[in-house]
Symmetry: C2
């Protein structure tokens, strides 16, 4: 909550927003932090004690938040 | 664009949304993919040829997209 925000909108410049991220992606990252495959000083400590169920619950919570993106007014998307 | 979407909203369950992510976070991840510190088969290949300026430009683009998060109706945030 302190770093990624209770609603998944990060409060720190080096922490990603988790709101609305795909559950599969979040689970993969948490498993990577737990095993040490993905390295991050704080996240490796935080993820170490998580069970598979904890990880599934965290991923379900953050992925359930809807996000809407708004492009800067000056920018247009490249044509498809 | 194929995986993370032109507007930074991912189109694949194992790819994160990049829209609105803090530029510092995005730069750190791209540098990590480029060096191999963060491992991902596709991203390591994609990031390998990026210059520091490329990385700064990518981070600036994705971070410039505004995102708004909406909690599921059934959920209330814990009191602060």
């Amino acid at each position: 909550m302190v770093c990624h925000g209770a609603a998944g909108i990060s409060t720190q410049p080096n922490a990603p927003h988790l709101a609305g991220q795909p559950a599969i992606y979040l689970e993969e990252q948490l498993r990577g932090y737990r095993s040490g495959r993905r390295r991050h000083e704080q996240m490796n400590v935080v993820a170490k004690p998580l069970s598979d169920a904890d990880i599934a619950n965290l991923a379900a919570w953050y992925s359930s938040i809807r996000i809407d993106a708004t492009l800067p007014e000056s920018q247009a998307l490249p044509a498809k």
